[in-house]
Symmetry: C2
Subunit: 339 residues, 2 copies
DNA sequence: GTTATGTCCTTAATCGTTTAAGCTGCAGGG
DNA sequence: CCCTGCAGCTTAAACGATTAAGGACATAAC
C-alpha cells in the first residue's frame, strides 16, 4: 500500500509536508502542493483511516443501533428506508456507518463497549428496547446520540409525529362518515401511546365515543395477529365500519380475514394502515394510510448527529418532529353520503 | 479513554505484557495475567480497533456492496434478509460490516479506494452492476471478494440455484396440469438468464412448447410493469393458464391486473412468484413460489469470506450453490383433474 | 561449578498519520 | 547593514497497539 512516506520520498519532501498539502493546510507552497497532489494521484495513494483515527480520535463512522422489538428488522420497509436515508446522508458527509451489537470478537460486551472499540463519532438509535440498561448506559455516555421515535431528556431526538399523524388519519376516516372505528394498536411503546392519544383526541373532537371492545392490542408488523383480532372484531354484535391497523404490513392479515368472512373492502368494511410503505400503494384497493416521512426521519437524524459531532457547542434543539402526510386510498369508503 | 498504558501503570508491568496477557499469549505468568485481566475490567478498558488495525493490518471489518440494479434496495425483502444473514454471521465471528460506496469525505473515488481507505479485510458484493469497470477493478484487486449470484472466475461465488429453482417451480406448475405458461422475467442479468434456462428446460422435458408471445421482459421488483404486461397477456387470443412473475413483489401488480379484469386467482388463471419472501405467505391466496434460501446465501457468503481471509491458502472451492425449496400455494390451481 | 533450559518479563521498533514547534532564507523596513 | 516578519518547509512526538528480540532469574543437567 502506498503511504505518505512514498509520496514524500518521491517528491523529496517530508511526510509532514505531504500530510499538510493533502489536507489543504495553508503553509504549503502552491508548487509543492501541486506536485504532491499529482504524485499521490499517480502512485494511487489512499489515506489510511485507521492511522488517521488513531491520531485524531475521529473515525468518520456513525454507529447505528437497529434492534428489533418491532419484528421484521431490516425487512421492515419502514426501517429499511430510514436506514437507507441515514446511510445516504451519512455518505454525503463522508461518514460510513457501523451496526452496533453487543459482541466484539467472541466476547460478549455492551453496546457502549462496541462503540468505543470502533471509535464511532456518534450513534443513531433507530430501534431498540429503550428500557434496556445497556441502552441507557449508551445514551448517558460521552458519545453523541440521536434517538429516533423516542425521547431521552438532554439528547437529540428525531420523532415522527405519531400523535398528529394518527389524529389526522382518524379525522379523515371520520370525515368519510365513519363513527364505529376499531383500533388495533401495536405493543405498548411510546409510539403506540402517542398514536392512541391521537386517535382518541380526534374521536373526542368529533364527539365520537369508542367502545372499549373496539380497541385491541395487536403486534407490529404481524399479519397473523391482526388476522385473528380482525376476525374477532367482525364477530361483534355491533361491528365496526372501519378498522385501523398497527401498520400497513400487519393490515394485510386483517384484509385476509375480511375476505375470508365473505366481506369486501371497502364495500362492507373499511381498513386503514399506518406507515405508508410502498406496499400500501401496490395492493388493491390502495390503502388509506398515514405516510411517515421515513426519508426525512433518517436524513435528519444523521444530519443532526453530524452537526452535533462537528460543532458540539451549537445550541441543541433537542427534539425535532417530522411530519408525514395522509394517503387517501380506496380502502376507506365514503359512507357519509348514505346519511 | 483507558488504554493499555493505564493498565500497565496500575499493575507495574510493561505495556507489552498487558497486550500479551489480554491476547492470551503463552509467555505470561498466570498470576500476572489474572491481575491484568482484573485491572482491565475494573478500569473499564476497551481495545482501540484503530490502533490494532494500524499495527496488524486487520480491521475485522467486512465491506458490503449493495447497489441496486434490482430496485428497492434495502427495502427489497430478498436483499434485506441476505444482508441480515451476512451481518449476523459476521458478528458472530467478530466482524463488523461497512457499506461500500464511491465517496470518501466529499471526494468521489472508487469502490476499491473506499475499501482500502477503511481497510476492510474482504468484501461481499451482494448486488451491483457486475459489468461496471469499478466492480471489475475491485474483484481483481488484492482484497478478498465473494460475490453473490454472479460468477467471476477465480473468485468465490455463492449463488442461488436459479436454474434448478425455476426448473423445479415449472415442473410443479406443469404437474398441476398447466401447459400454457407465460413467463415474465426481469432484466437480462445472469440471474434472469439462468431462470429462463431452467424454465425452458422444464418445458422441453415435458414436451411443452412455449410461444414467444408468452415470454416477456419485465422489471424486477416492479409491480407496475408486471401489471401492464399481465394485462397484455390476458388480452391474448390464446390466454395462458398460468403466469410466472419475476418475483413475489412484482407479482402483486400482476394479481391486481387479474382482479381488475374481473378474473380470479387461481380459479381463472394461476400465478407464481419467485423469492419466497414473507409477503408471499401473507397474501391471499398464498403464493406458489420458489423460496430462495436467503439466510443461507448471506450466511455462507460471510462464512466463506471470513474463511478466505483467515486462511488464504485453503483450497478454494470457488463456487457454492445454495438451493431453496418450493412453496406450494393456492395461487396455482390443479387443473390436471379437468383433463 | 558451569552450562543449558525455560519462564516471564522488558525493550524498542513499528504501523501511517497529524500537529505543535522550530528552523531557514528571503524580502522589506528602518 | 541589521532586524523583523513571513512563507514554507522540517523535526519530532504522539496516538494505542503488536511483536521480534533480548534480558534476568531460577531450575535442572552434567
Amino acid at each position: 500500500m502506498i503511504s505518505m512516506k512514498d509520496i514524500a520520498l518521491e517528491c523529496g519532501v517530508s511526510v509532514a509536508t505531504v500530510s499538510k498539502a493533502l489536507n489543504g493546510q495553508q503553509d504549503i507552497g502552491e508548487e509543492t502542493r501541486q506536485k504532491i497532489a499529482e504524485t499521490a494521484e499517480r502512485l494511487g495513494y489512499t489515506a489510511n483511516s485507521a492511522a488517521r483515527a488513531l491520531k485524531t480520535n475521529k473515525t468518520f463512522n456513525l454507529g447505528v443501533l437497529f434492534l428489533d422489538p418491532m419484528h421484521g428488522g431490516l425487512a421492515h420497509e419502514f426501517f429499511s428506508t430510514v436506514l437507507d436515508a441515514i446511510r445516504s446522508e451519512a455518505e454525503s458527509n463522508g461518514y460510513d456507518i457501523t451496526f452496533i451489537n453487543r459482541g466484539i470478537g467472541n466476547r460478549e460486551t455492551s453496546y457502549l463497549q462496541h462503540c468505543r472499540y470502533r471509535g464511532v463519532d456518534g450513534v443513531i438509535i433507530a430501534s431498540a428496547d429503550f428500557a434496556d440498561p445497556q441502552i441507557i448506559e449508551l445514551v448517558n455516555s460521552e458519545i453523541p446520540v440521536v434517538t429516533i421515535d423516542h425521547i431521552f431528556n438532554g439528547n437529540i431526538s428525531i420523532i415522527s409525529d405519531n400523535t398528529g399523524g394518527m389524529e389526522t388519519l382518524t379525522d379523515y376516516i371520520i370525515s368519510k362518515g365513519h363513527k364505529k372505528i376499531a383500533f388495533i394498536h401495536g405493543e405498548k411503546t411510546s409510539v403506540t401511546v402517542n398514536r392512541l392519544s391521537g386517535f382518541y383526541r380526534s374521536c373526542e373532537k368529533h364527539g365520537i365515543k369508542i367502545p372499549d371492545e373496539y380497541v385491541r392490542e395487536g403486534v407490529f408488523h404481524d399479519p397473523k395477529t391482526c388476522y385473528s383480532i380482525t376476525k374477532e372484531l367482525l364477530g361483534l354484535k355491533d361491528r365496526p365500519t372501519c378498522i385501523v391497523f398497527p401498520d400497513d404490513y400487519s393490515c394485510i392479515g386483517g384484509i385476509n380475514a375480511v375476505w375470508e368472512s365473505g366481506l369486501r373492502i371497502p364495500d362492507d368494511i373499511s381498513a386503514a394502515g399506518y406507515d405508508g410503505i410502498p406496499l400500501s400503494r401496490i395492493i388493491s384497493p390502495e390503502l388509506t394510510t398515514w405516510v411517515q416521512n421515513t426519508t426525512e426521519l433518517g436524513r435528519r437524524s444523521a444530519a443532526r448527529l453530524i452537526e452535533q459531532i462537528q460543532k458540539p457547542k451549537s445550541v441543541i434543539l433537542d427534539r425535532e418532529i417530522v411530519r408525514g402526510h395522509i394517503q387517501e386510498g380506496a380502502s376507506v369508503k365514503d359512507i357519509s353520503q348514505l346519511g
